[in-house]
């Protein structure tokens, strides 16, 4: 899943020292340049038009149609959108998606903590730790899901057998409607921990050391330094990670598809919006309704992201 967010502008470490002489630049702007520019842009422009921009427009049209069993579609106006608001399955999937998103957000404090530990001065083995925590990020979700299914198995899984040692009778994590979405959420946290940690670590390392030195002189201990210096100065990174995490969580599909699946008694209580989109559009051939669901998702993402940008002024400190 690529993040849908505009990346932050890079810190200008290697800014060119002398500004380019204006005159040279003007002269270099020969008229033929534009054709070269168009040529360089052409492949990506054509590709994005064919595979993204046009499909988005077409999908918008689809959202007003009903699909026939074997091709063809008829215009049904706003029917699909009317259905959206009365469909208990979709409303439930929206709720599931919200639960899932909130859960994955819980991984953020965890990764900040890890990053802070790794940021300890003079700590040995940072590279090794970082690589180990990052391992799940590069591992195929299909493989991750399968091994966790094995671990979560209510009767033979190692997790319940471990809990049994302490006299706890664990549930059927992935088949119990009460636990499935949380069990999937834990795996999602597990697999993105290292990724967030790397971002936070980079953020912490860009905090100038003088701040800490000054604080040490004032007698501030490590905890006080963390809450008074690290956390406030890290807020731009925290904001950025929060936004990406939410956007990715709202589009969650892989783990629910792989770990719960359509035959599970827990699917209704754990299917996300994108899973429902897939079930309707691809498995059931109800492309019109699926298109409407996709636009509901778009609206949701835009709304939540806009909200986050609006609230950021209250807690994000830019230097």
């Amino acid at each position: 899943m690529t993040s849908q967010l505009v990346p932050p502008v890079e810190q200008g470490q290697r800014r060119p020292t002398p500004l380019p002489p204006r005159g040279t630049k003007r002269r270099s702007l020969r008229h033929g340049d534009r054709y070269w520019a168009y040529l360089l842009i052409l492949p990506t422009a054509v590709g994005l038009t064919v595979f993204s921009i046009w499909p988005a427009i077409q999908t918008f049209y689809f959202s007003f149609t009903k699909w026939g069993t074997f091709g063809g579609h008829e215009w049904t106006g706003l029917d699909n959108y009317a259905q959206v608001f009365h469909d208990p399955e979709l409303l439930r999937s929206l709720w599931n998606t919200v639960i899932f998103s909130v859960m994955t957000l819980l991984g953020i404090p965890l990764s900040i903590g890890l990053a802070a530990l790794l940021n300890t001065k003079g700590l040995r083995g940072v590279g090794v730790y970082r690589a180990l925590y990052f391992l799940p990020v590069v591992t195929m979700p299909a493989a991750i899901a399968l091994v966790w299914k094995l671990i979560y198995n209510g009767d033979t899984g190692i997790l319940n057998q471990f809990l049994a040692v302490f006299g706890v009778d664990g549930p059927h994590w992935l088949s119990d409607p009460a636990t499935a979405i949380y069990a999937v959420g834990v795996v999602s946290i597990w697999s993105s921990l290292g990724y967030n940690m790397v971002l936070f670590l980079a953020g912490m390392q860009s905090i100038p050391g003088e701040f800490y030195e000054a604080a040490s002189i004032d007698g501030a201990g490590p905890w006080r330094q963390f809450f008074r210096i690290t956390m406030p100065l890290l807020t731009p990174t925290t904001f950025f990670v929060t936004v990406i995490t939410v956007i990715n969580a709202l589009q969650a599909f892989d783990l629910v598809y792989l770990m719960v699946g359509k035959a599970s008694p827990a699917i209704e209580e754990s299917q996300t919006v994108v899973y429902l989109f897939y079930a309707k559009g691809i498995l059931q051939g109800d492309g019109g309704y699926a298109a409407a669901i996709a636009f509901v998702l778009l609206a949701l993402i835009l709304l939540i992201t806009a909200f986050q940008f609006r609230v950021q002024k209250r807690w994000v400190h830019y230097e």
């Binding site: 069993t69 899984g157 059927h172």
Partner: protein
Amino acid sequence: MNRAHSKTKRTAFVVAAGLAAVTALAACSSSSGNGGGGGDSGPVTISYGVWDDTQGKVMQQIADKFHESNPNITVKVQITPWDQYWTKLKTAATGGAAPDVFWMNESNFATYASGGVLANLSDKLKGSDIDMSNYIDIQTKAYTFDGKVYGIPKDIDSIGLWYNKALFKAAGVAEPTADWTWADMVAAAKKLTDPSKGQYGIVAQSAPQQSYYSTIPQTGGQVISDDKKSSGYDTPEAIKGVQVWVDLVNKDKVSPSLQQMTDTDADTWFTSGKAAMIFEGSWAAAEFKEIPYAAQNANVAPMPKLDQPGGVSNGLGNVMSAKSAHPDAAWKFLQYLGSKEAETAQADAGIVIPAYKGTADGWVKAFPEFNLQVFVDALKNSSQYPSSMNSAAWQDPIELEFNKAWSGDETAAQAAANSAKIMNDALAAEK
């Protein structure tokens, strides 16, 4: 050293990229290669779409046999796993590119026949080698839509009570017999359940054919009316047919729960010796035989009787695409698939009970370790698998609904009433 290393990497990269381009081109040309031709005079290649891996190999043998007597026609068997088969077929049918000949099941048949995807065989049948009365009657009926034949019956199945001889022996319980009643089975299941060992008497899976589709006919109920216009789920008979299963799970607790059967599938409970009995199909014989523990310990008995004998059979049909580019070759192959020779070959290979009357012996003999005659005998009391024009609209939602009875969230009566409503709404929308 570092530099040299990165240079090798780059070279490898370029080679890989070049390779990718070449392979991509090869992939393009091969996919468009067999599209040409058209006329059936020269050698042609037709495709045969199936979903079962084990059967696929036998289908290829049958196709090769066909090729021997029809050297101009080569048949390529395309195997697509069950989960993808219908999505793929639907997409292909939408684009007019379904395989020339392919497998059909009863649930989907009417949808494809009414959608114009399948070739109408009625006219072709006149003066052909095929006589539809050679096939088991419910199968002939199953592949007839609106009075016209769209499919040649391929096989048929039935359900039996598989049991674990070793577990019965260990518990000192007599093995199931042909005159077992449902109460006998419940009593045995109770004796065979041993929570300390994590062992259950029976695994009561919620798959329709292996549960309520089998018991509802035995209580005198119906899943769908004969005219396929209304649901029979809200009758006391049908509710009873569901109740007996739910009781095994929730009242008598002689079966793993629905959640347990989701985490570990029902067949695994049985074949790993953790459940002593299971309602499972004739098709399971070939699969159980491959698992050493099951091959050694499993056997099968007739389903225990509830109120009257009954059950449903599902069977596949071979159909041809209405838009096949080689209709003559496809029809020739279809006739061969329906011939006594080809149907018998399926039985002898031990994969299925053929739909061709009187050819089941080979199948029964293919697995001497199991008492498979049980399944052939069960066919006498079997009725047609419940289906309608758009079965997909109600089958899946109803399975989810009955799951709620299995999990104890709803009573059998509530789930049955909800299912009747789902089904009646869907049936009303078909017209």
